[in-house]
């Protein structure tokens, strides 16, 4: 068991996997100098530039060459720097990586991980702040993972690397320095939610950075006597339907909260599924307004989901 931050947890997971399997390689801009957030610091020294590949500014080629590599016996880890830049490589992710196995009738699998640091971070404005996880959940062939703690980043990145599917792996940029315990040999199964709090009055489902906001709200609500059952989905495709539906059936109230734009967000999928399955469920979705992320800090703050917003929604559902 050791304490490490979210960034290092990912790095340790990657390094352990690379030591065990010589066919794994990582590719992205500036990786040789540690990557833009330092998540790869020191890895080029250990694994060399053939396995920690510093790429030109060619997102399509970064992603497309990884698809080619994955189809032919190696296991690429793609670093896209900001989730927003993945938009320069969408054909390669959606038309190629996600569909190749199926289109070719199962002749090859596409074992690759597509790291896309996501979310709002330090006044980064509209082109460096997006949370687009909902898009990837809608694309057959893709797995979608969004860890929110060091332990989950360690366990889920390992699971993603070991998995033979293309995994969109979204770390949250605001969580890099977050410290936490990572048990030795820790494993996390893709598709299993983590239960952060058991309760009976209302179910809250969330993921990524909003997990921490929701936990704060849960604690505040506990003090005023409202008992919340709180889940961090951790992976959005597959997502832990059973767990959410059982809890929603128990509490009769469901709130889904995420940082992404509310309209058309993955919260809609969770809420709609629960509404189909649980009769008489009361529900509310919380997310960003449908606006690009503004730069100015007070404006940017208006986009963020806060504990107060969540508490307000719980109160309105009561």
């Amino acid at each position: 068991m050791s304490v490490m931050n979210y960034s290092d947890a990912g790095k340790v997971a990657l390094a352990e996997c690379m030591r065990a399997d010589p066919t794994i390689w990582a590719v992205g801009e500036d990786l040789g100098h540690g990557g833009v957030f330092g998540q790869y610091m020191g890895l080029e020294e250990e694994f060399g530039p053939e396995r920690i590949v510093s790429a030109p500014i060619s997102e399509a080629a970064i992603m497309g060459s990884a698809v080619g590599g994955a189809l032919t016996g190696t296991r690429p880890i793609v670093e896209l720097r900001f989730a927003d830049f993945a938009l320069c490589a969408i054909d390669e992710i959606v038309n190629q990586a996600a569909k190749a196995r199926y289109m070719f009738g199962g002749q090859a699998k596409v074992p690759l991980v597509i790291r896309q640091p996501s979310g709002m971070w330090r006044a980064s404005a509209a082109q460096h702040s997006q949370s687009l996880e909902a898009w990837y959940t809608h694309i057959p062939g893709l797995v979608v993972v969004m860890p929110a703690t060091p332990a989950d980043n360690y366990g889920l990145l390992k699971a993603a690397i070991e998995c033979d599917d293309p995994v969109v792996y979204m770390e949250h940029k605001d969580l890099w320095p977050l410290e936490g315990e990572v048990p030795e040999g820790h494993t996390v199964e893709i598709g299993k939610a983590s239960v952060l709090h058991e309760g009976s009055d209302v179910t809250i489902v969330t993921w990524s950075k909003t997990r921490h906001v929701a936990l704060e709200a849960t604690k505040t609500l506990a003090r005023s006597g409202t008992s919340v059952e709180l889940f961090d989905l951790r992976s959005l495709w597959p997502w832990d339907r059973e767990c959410v539906l059982a809890s929603a059936a128990k509490t009769g109230r469901l709130i889904v909260a995420h940082e992404a734009v509310r309209d058309g967000g993955f919260g809609a999928e969770v809420a709609a599924t629960a509404a189909e399955e649980v009769a008489g469920l009361k529900l509310a979705r919380i997310g960003a307004p449908r606006i690009p992320i503004p730069y100015s800090t007070p404006l940017e703050d208006m986009v963020r989901v806060t504990a107060e917003t969540i508490i307000g929604a719980v109160e309105r559902l009561a």
């Binding site: 080619g68 016996g73 190696t74 390669e92 070719f104």
Partner: protein
């Protein structure tokens, strides 16, 4: 280095493969007319020498990435035409289990990494496959086929630059049939052509007659040898022409008739035939090769037509391991 004295057997083999490709694609026309091929099919009639002249220099463990016009590449790399025809007819036993069709034809067993419905996409898949080759310590190479229209897409620049800076074992083959769908490519392409673009990205380039399988074969032999030796990526611009429309159903009225007729005088199969006759092969032997090819593809056609449909539950398989549909 082009070999001025090609072995007659080698030319004969190339002739046979070209005849097989042509016969296969004639059956695709028939299949389309009879409603057996449902999706769009892009044929390489008139361009067979490119697939054959290139793939004839590859090992089974070398790999190719193709574009939407991929039947010829696939056959030349060694795939089974019957499984291909079943695929185009959407039947059980299709090479992609009926899920891909013409535009996604692939045979990983023979190193054919797939046609592609997205112009230019194969370029990036090829450089990635070449990275695998290098990492896995083989001296196999990868060939990427694409059209003259693809040189205006971003992946052309990104993929060629990538191959150069990482010194990957790729041969880029730009199969220039002068048109991209209804558009005469040169009207929408700046500069002095694909080879100059490749050289500007640091990749040595050659230009060749894509309808002469003999000289092409020899030229490619040298290029493949250089790449296999670790010399890094090379580029080949081959000039050819498609005899029919962009898809089977395209009447191609945008091309001057005289241009088409002139191009047909350079039919790669007729040229190989003329060479072989000049060099002592008997007309009757060539005739038998052509007839055999037609028989083979006719049999493929009939077996595919009579094959059953895929089992319906298969629609949900081979999507993904984790989170697959139930």
């Amino acid at each position: 280095m082009p070999d001025p004295f090609p072995s007659p057997q080698r030319v004969l083999d190339h002739y046979a493969t070209m005849c097989r490709i042509r016969a296969f694609e004639r059956m695709v026309i028939r299949g389309t007319e009879e409603g057996l091929v449902k999706g769009a099919a892009h044929l390489s009639i008139g361009q067979e020498a490119v697939a054959v002249g290139v793939c004839g220099n590859l090992r089974r463990s070398d790999q190719i990435a193709s574009n939407h016009r991929g039947h010829g590449h696939t056959i030349a790399k060694g795939a089974d035409p019957e499984a291909m025809m079943r695929e185009l007819f959407g039947r059980e036993g299709g090479i992609c289990s009926g899920k891909g069709g013409s535009m996604h034809i692939a045979d990983f067993d023979v190193g054919m990494l797939g046609a592609n419905g997205i112009v230019g996409a194969g370029i990036l898949i090829a450089v990635g496959a070449a990275k695998s080759k290098k990492m896995l310590g083989t001296n196999d190479i990868v060939v990427c086929f694409f059209g003259d229209g693809a040189v205006n897409r971003g992946p052309f620049l990104e993929g060629l630059n990538w191959a150069r800076v990482f010194n990957l074992p790729v041969l880029f083959v730009c199969e220039d049939n002068k048109y991209a769908a209804t558009t005469r490519t040169e009207q929408l392409t700046g500069g002095s052509g694909p080879a100059v673009r490749a050289e500007s990205l640091g990749i040595p380039a050659k230009i060749a007659d894509g309808n002469d399988v003999i000289s092409l074969d020899a030229l490619v032999g040298g290029l493949v040898e250089d790449i296999r030796g670790g010399g890094g990526p090379l580029f080949l611009h081959v000039e050819t022409y498609r005899h029919i429309g962009h898809t089977v159903v395209d009447p191609a009225t945008y091309r001057p008739e005289a241009e088409v007729e002139e191009a047909k005088t350079r039919d790669p199969i007729e040229r190989a035939k003329a060479f072989l006759l000049d060099n002592g092969t008997l007309e009757v032997d060539l005739g038998r090769i052509a007839v055999d090819a037609e028989k083979e593809m006719n049999a493929a056609f009939e077996l595919a037509r009579d094959a059953s449909w895929p089992r319906l539950p298969a629609v949900l398989s081979d999507v993904q391991d984790i989170g697959a549909p139930a």
